[in-house]
């Protein structure tokens, strides 16, 4: 469904991605793991059109993906960047409505119902300014908002960052249910153990290159990955 072709990106002289290529099947979950600075977020931003790669391109459903962010969204690819960014000055409901910017009002109405059903807490706080929500609620809002435009592909950058363990479990179960509804997911996670357990396909990035690829289970059982990213004896 999504095919990355020899994608390279540099911030000035710093090469962040070296000729990355991979393919994600429709309806699957692809996890990108790796340490800080490996280029995971940069890769996500390149796909979403926030950064323009110097070389290579993204193919989506057989066609070259447009390079403007808003056209990427219209095509059905929605990015949730890291850091739980809500529009703090807007209410919960307005945050969701701006998420439905690209779809017709009648579709938006259905999506409101679906999102509120999935996140009853958001419904209870729909008039509240998003900046006043707790961290977990903000992350729910961000996920809910991304679903408002009926994305076919969801790019999630560190959805569990800085959240309490219980809420992290909730987020991961939400990711699973979203995927069961047919949404393809590309997931960047520091929490490699949980991400690999969920993923159909996994890629290990190091300094802008894919150094290992396989199914989630294969990477989770790889001795190198265990030693470096799953923290050996340390529990995550």
């Amino acid at each position: 469904m999504i095919k990355i072709h020899d994608l390279s990106f540099a911030y000035g002289k710093i090469q962040a991605l070296h000729s990355i290529s991979f393919e994600v099947e429709q309806g699957s979950i692809c996890a990108l793991v790796g340490s800080n600075g490996a280029g995971k977020s940069t890769l996500m931003k390149c796909i979403a059109g926030l950064l323009t790669p110097q070389e290579g391109y993204v193919e989506y459903m057989g066609e070259k993906l447009p390079s403007n962010t808003h056209d990427v969204v219209k095509a059905g690819i929605s990015l949730i960047p890291e850091g739980r960014w809500v529009f703090p000055n807007l209410s919960v409901e307005e945050n969701l409505r701006i998420g439905a910017y690209t779809v017709h009002a009648s579709v938006a109405k259905e999506n409101f119902e679906r999102v509120y059903k999935r996140f009853p807490k958001l419904y209870a706080r729909k008039g509240q300014r998003a900046g006043t929500l707790s961290g977990g609620e903000q992350q729910m809002l961000v996920v809910g908002r991304a679903l408002m435009c009926n994305p076919k592909v969801l790019l999630m950058d560190e959805p569990s960052l800085g959240l309490a363990p219980l809420i992290i479990n909730e987020i991961f179960s939400i990711i699973r249910t979203i995927n069961e509804d047919g949404v393809t997911i590309i997931l960047v996670e520091q929490n490699a153990k949980k991400a690999l357990a969920l993923a159909d396909q996994a890629l290990l990035l190091e300094t802008g290159k894919i150094v290992k690829r396989g199914t989630g289970a294969e990477l989770a059982n790889d001795p190198d990955v265990i030693a470096t990213y799953l923290g050996g004896a340390r529990s995550k």
Binding site: T69, H70, V73, S78, N89, L90, I98, T102
Partner: protein, 288 residues
């Protein structure tokens, strides 16, 4: 008092333009003055050939202001914004340059002398209210300005693009991740600012005359209003403008009209020293 409110309402028309653009791009669009001057001249020239009809002038001026404002965005700012790391200060200086170039173009191609509006508009007589005489012009200006701002406020509060503008005022890039075409959104915002500036230009032209530096003289006051109210905040800009208008009229009336501008700019300096975020501003960083 009404006179002060009427001047204040025109300052407000221009000040919300500053604030709107500042809230999205975090820079002060000093080329805003050009749209005001354009609004004043367009109607002035139109009335040389047609009946002095206020409604007709309003339409012509708002179109003129919007056109100039959008052209500046497309031809100048857009190219600067496309480059990553282009500093906001550069945009501000460019705006300044545009405004000076425009003034001189008017002097060269039209005239440096004031152009008068037809007397049907400038001296409409006055009405008596509570024992004081109030210029009809002032009342009309006040009412029309308030209507324009009410229209803007409801557009921002209730429309789909208004929501996008409020979202983008927090972060333009995030808005694009929602599927908002930020290029188009910026054009719309510059058009709105231009419409209000054009209307303000018409009112200023009627109240004073149309002259080349009209825009920069008046937008300086609007800028003070926007800073006073807190740059980036629309209600702040409006409150600041009315406050400034009333202060100016009282200073001119009870102290000396020579002191008026000195006091206005004194307020600007004072606000920047004491409370840079203004009455309702959110952050005090980088008010370039």
């Amino acid at each position: 008092m009404i006179n002060g409110l009427s001047i204040g309402s025109v300052y407000a028309l221009m000040a919300v333009g500053y604030s709107l653009i500042y809230s999205l791009l975090s820079f002060t669009n000093f080329a805003h003055a050009v749209a005001v001057t354009a609004g004043a001249y367009v109607s002035c020239y139109l009335f040389m050939y047609t009946q002095p009809n206020l409604l007709l002038g309003l339409v012509a001026s708002l179109l003129g202001g919007a056109l100039v404002s959008v052209l500046i965005e497309i031809l100048v700012y857009r190219n600067m914004l496309m480059k990553r790391n282009s500093k906001k200060l550069y945009l501000m200086i460019a705006g300044w340059g545009i405004s000076t170039v425009a003034e001189n173009l008017i002097i060269i191609f039209i005239s440096s002398i004031s152009q008068f509006y037809p007397s049907e508009l400038t001296s409409m007589g006055s009405i008596q209210l509570l024992g004081s005489s109030i210029g009809k012009v002032d009342v009309i200006i006040l009412v029309l300005s308030i209507l324009s701002m009410a229209a803007l406020q409801s557009y921002i509060s209730f429309s789909r693009d208004g929501l996008a503008i409020r979202g983008a005022s927090h972060n333009l890039q995030y808005a694009s991740l929602m599927g908002v075409n930020t290029d188009t959104l910026l054009i719309k915002v510059f058009a709105i600012a231009g419409v209000l500036a054009g209307i303000a230009g018409l009112f200023m032209g009627i109240k004073y005359t149309a002259y080349p530096t009209l825009g920069s003289v008046m937008t300086n006051k609007a800028f003070i209003s926007a800073v006073l109210g807190g740059l980036g905040s629309l209600p702040g800009a409006i409150a600041g403008a009315f406050l400034l208008g009333v202060i100016e009229v009282f200073v001119a009336g009870y102290i000396s009209s020579a002191l008026r501008d000195m006091i206005s700019f004194g307020i600007l300096i004072l606000v920047l020293i004491v409370r840079p975020s203004g009455l309702m501003g959110k952050s005090s960083e980088d008010k370039a």
